[in-house]
Symmetry: C2
Subunit: 78 residues, 2 copies
């Protein structure tokens, strides 16, 4: 099992996060200064997935993230 985190690059505006931040401020959580939203993908694989590290990087670059505006972090677990 691996988890891939995908988030917008810091330089890219996150209107969804801004909307959530504003909503939280409006309902009384005024201390919330910023919200940024990301996705994660929990990937289970069977024993045949060779070259795991390379494959996860490929999958992330090609399918899970848009490298133009997003960055990703891969976390392998047992």
């Amino acid at each position: 099992m691996a988890r891939v985190y995908v988030s917008l690059k810091k330089s890219v505006a996150d209107p969804q996060g801004q909307t959530i931040k504003k909503a939280l401020n409006d309902i009384g959580y005024e201390g919330v200064a910023e919200v940024r939203v990301g996705k994660f993908f929990d990937i289970s694989y069977d024993g045949d997935l060779e070259n795991l590290e390379r494959v996860l990087k490929e999958i992330s670059e090609k399918v899970l993230a848009n490298p133009v505006i997003e960055e990703f972090v891969i976390e392998e677990s047992a």
Copy 2:
């Protein structure tokens, strides 16, 4: 700063994850057995956010997650 992870409950089908799994299998990553998708929210707050733990739980329950079909995990960091 805190991060809230929101994911579908295990018992809830994840069609988006299933679609990604199928796409990965179709382009040659046959070892991928399951994909499940979640969201995370990076929340920055200023010093005025008292009762941090309670507030984060409230925000998660009320705004970030749909408790009927989703579960959440709160991770506080420095």
